[in-house]
C-alpha cells in the first residue's frame, strides 16, 4: 500500500513542477513544446523495452516489441523534429541585413 502512495506523491510533485515550468514556455514555442513532450513521453519505451527483452512469454514479447517500435518512433522522431523546428527560430539578424541593404 505504501508503494502506491509513494508513486502518487511523485506524480503530484512532478505534475506541479511540470505545470510551473511549462507555464513559462512562450506561445512562440508551443509547437516545439508539443513535439518535445511527445518525445519525452515516448519514455513508455522504458516499459516496452522490459516487456520485449525479459522474454516472460511470447505474447508479452510480441506486444512489447510492437510497443518498442511505436515508442521509438516517438522518441527518435520527436527529438529530431523538435530540433528541426528549433533550428529555424532565428533572432533579428536577417532583418537588420535587409535594412542595411536598402
Amino acid at each position: 500500500m505504501l508503494e502506491i502512495f509513494l508513486g502518487l506523491y511523485i506524480f503530484m510533485l512532478a505534475a506541479f513542477v511540470g505545470y510551473g515550468v511549462i507555464k513559462g514556455v512562450p506561445a512562440l514555442l508551443h509547437t516545439p513544446l508539443m513535439a518535445f513532450t511527445n518525445a519525452i513521453s515516448g519514455i513508455s519505451l522504458v516499459g516496452s523495452l522490459v516487456a520485449a527483452g525479459a522474454h516472460y512469454n511470447n505474447v508479452s514479447t510480441v506486444l512489447g516489441a510492437i510497443a518498442v517500435l511505436c515508442a521509438t518512433i516517438n522518441v527518435v522522431g520527436g527529438f529530431w523534429i523538435t530540433d528541426r523546428m528549433l533550428r529555424m527560430f532565428k533572432k533579428q539578424e536577417p532583418k537588420a541585413d535587409a535594412a542595411g541593404d536598402a
Partner: protein, 470 residues
C-alpha cells in the same frame, strides 16, 4: 543492479526537467533539447540493464536477449527520422496527432502485455496494479484511436466537418461511464479476463466517437487534450511497472497538454468543461443568420490595388491563419516582408493562439520562412498597436479577426479574444472565396468600409504582389 537502474532513472528525470526549462526561451531551447536527449539515453541505459532482462541474459546469449529490442529500435528510429525529416512544416499538426497515436498504442500494449504476464500466465495480480493497468489501457486506447481520427481529419482522409448523430453526447457519456464501471469491476476482480478485454476494447471505440463530432477549427483543443491523455497513459504505465521516471515524464507531458488545452479553450472562449465533454464544435445555424444582416457588399481589390496599398504603408501587421498553411504561403509572406522592410516599412506579425490547427502552428511556419521570431507578436502584445497601423494584411485567417466577437452578443464566437485587424487604417484580406470560416459565420470585417478583399489562392496573390513591388 536495482541501485544502478534507479540512479540512472534519477539522472534522467533531472535532465528532463532541466531540458524542459530550456524551452522557456527561444535562445536556450536547443540546449534544453540536448539535455533531454541525454536524459533519454540515461533512461534507456537504465532499462536495458533492468533486473528482469539481466535474468534472461544469464540463461541466453546477448543476441537472444536483445534481438527484439535491437530490431524494433532500429526500425522505429528509421521510421521516426524519415517522418520527421521529410514532413513539411505545414503538416506539423498531422505529425503530432500521429505521434500521440503511437504513444497511446505503446502504453496500451504494455498494459495488455503486463496483464497477460501477471494475471493470465502467473495467475495473480493485486488490485492496485490492476487499477494502474486499467487506467493505462483506458487512456492509451482512447489516445490511440482519438489521435488517428484527428490525424484523419487534419490530413483530409476523413471529412473535417463535424460528424453528428442523435443523442451523441448522451451516448458518449454513457459509454464512458460504462467503461469506467468496467474498470472498477476489473480492479475488484482482476481474474475476470472477459471484463478486462472488454474494458480494453471500449476506449478504442470511444476515441473514435469522441473526436468524430469535432470540426477542423477545434483541432487545437483536441490535439492538446490528446497530448495530455498520452502523458497520463505513460504515467499510469509507470504506476503499473513501479517505474518512477515513467511517472515523472508522463506527469510532465500530462501537465503540458493540460496547460495548452486551457490556453486553447480560453483563446476560443470555451469553458474547459465544454471541452472535456466533447460537446464543442457545434455550429448554430441561427447564429450564422443573425451575425450579419444580408445584402451588404464587400469591396474587391485587384492585386495591383493591394500592392499599392502595401507600398504606401509605413507599418504593416500580418495576421496569418490556417489558410496560409493550406496555401503554403509562408515563404512568399517572408519575401513580401523583405521587400517592404527594404522600403522602410515596419512589418510585424500578430499570432492568435488558435490560428492554425495546433498551438504555435503559425510561429513554426513563419520561422521556416526565415522571419525572425522577434517580430512574431502574441495577441496581447500587439492588439493595441493595430489602431496606429496603416495596413493589416489578413492571410487566410477568418474567425480570429472577426470583430463580431467583440460587440455582437448574437454571434457564436462572441467573447472570444480576436485580433483588432478592423482598427487598422486599412485592411487587406486575402481569401479564396466568400465561403464563411469554420465557425460557419459571416465575418463583419469583410464588410467594413476600410476593408478590401483580394480573392484567390493566398500564395498566388502574394507572389503577384511581390512581382508588382519588385
Amino acid at each position: 543492479m536495482v541501485d544502478q537502474v534507479e540512479t540512472l532513472y534519477l539522472i534522467a528525470s533531472f535532465l528532463f526537467i532541466l531540458g524542459l526549462r530550456g524551452l522557456t526561451a527561444a535562445h536556450t531551447a536547443r540546449r534544453g533539447l540536448i539535455l533531454a536527449e541525454l536524459g533519454m539515453v540515461f533512461a534507456i541505459w537504465g532499462t536495458v540493464i533492468h533486473p528482469d532482462i539481466m535474468a534472461h541474459l544469464e540463461t541466453a546469449s546477448f543476441f537472444q536477449t536483445y534481438k527484439w529490442i535491437l530490431l524494433t529500435f532500429f526500425i522505429g528510429s528509421a521510421i521516426g527520422i524519415a517522418i520527421s525529416a521529410l514532413i513539411p512544416m505545414t503538416r506539423m499538426p498531422e505529425r503530432i496527432a500521429l505521434s500521440h497515436a503511437f504513444g497511446g498504442l505503446a502504453a496500451a500494449l504494455v498494459g495488455v502485455s503486463e496483464y497477460y504476464r501477471e494475471q493470465v500466465i502467473a495467475g495473480h495480480m493485486d488490485h492496485t496494479t490492476m487499477a494502474a493497468i486499467g487506467f493505462e489501457v483506458l487512456f492509451g486506447g482512447l489516445t490511440f484511436t482519438g489521435s488517428l481520427m484527428a490525424f484523419g481529419k487534419l490530413s483530409g482522409l476523413i471529412p473535417g466537418r463535424n460528424i453528428t448523430w442523435p443523442l451523441q453526447n448522451q451516448s458518449n457519456i454513457l459509454m464512458f461511464g460504462g467503461t469506467f464501471v468496467l474498470l472498477v469491476l476489473v480492479t475488484i476482480d482482476p481474474s475476470n479476463q472477459v471484463l478486462f478485454y472488454a474494458m480494453a476494447a471500449m476506449p478504442l471505440l470511444l476515441g473514435i466517437l469522441f473526436v468524430a463530432p469535432i470540426g477542423g477549427a477545434d483541432m487545437p483543443v483536441v490535439i492538446t487534450l490528446l497530448n495530455s491523455y498520452a502523458g497520463l497513459a505513460a504515467s499510469a504505465t509507470g504506476f503499473a511497472l513501479d517505474n518512477n521516471v515513467l511517472i515523472i515524464a508522463g506527469a510532465i507531458d500530462g501537465a503540458s497538454g493540460f496547460i495548452l488545452s486551457v490556453v486553447m479553450s480560453k483563446a476560443m472562449n470555451r469553458s474547459f468543461r465544454n471541452v472535456l465533454f466533447g460537446a464543442f464544435g457545434k455550429v448554430d445555424e441561427e447564429d450564422a443568420a443573425m451575425a450579419v444582416a444580408g445584402g451588404e457588399r464587400v469591396q474587391e481589390a485587384s492585386v495591383g490595388d493591394a500592392a499599392m496599398l502595401l507600398s504606401g504603408a509605413g507599418s504593416v501587421i500580418v495576421c496569418p491563419g490556417y489558410g496560409m498553411a493550406v496555401a503554403q504561403a509562408q515563404h512568399v509572406v517572408g519575401e513580401l516582408a523583405e521587400i517592404l522592410e527594404a522600403n522602410g516599412t515596419q512589418v510585424r506579425y500578430a499570432i492568435h493562439p488558435v490560428a492554425g490547427r495546433m498551438p504555435g502552428h503559425m510561429n513554426v511556419l513563419l520561422a521556416e520562412a526565415k522571419i525572425p521570431y522577434t517580430s512574431l507578436m502574441e495577441l496581447e502584445e500587439i492588439n493595441e498597436d493595430f489602431k496606429n497601423t496603416d495596413v493589416a494584411l489578413v492571410v487566410g485567417a477568418n474567425d480570429v479577426v472577426n470583430p463580431a466577437a467583440k460587440h455582437n452578443p448574437a454571434s457564436s464566437i462572441y467573447g472570444m479574444p480576436v485580433l483588432n485587424a478592423d482598427l487598422a487604417r486599412s485592411c487587406i484580406v486575402l481569401k479564396r472565396s466568400m465561403r464563411p470560416g469554420f465557425a460557419g459565420i459571416e465575418n463583419e470585417l469583410f464588410f467594413a468600409p476600410n476593408t478590401v478583399l483580394t480573392f484567390g489562392d493566398a500564395k498566388d496573390t502574394l507572389t503577384k504582389v511581390v512581382e508588382a513591388l519588385s
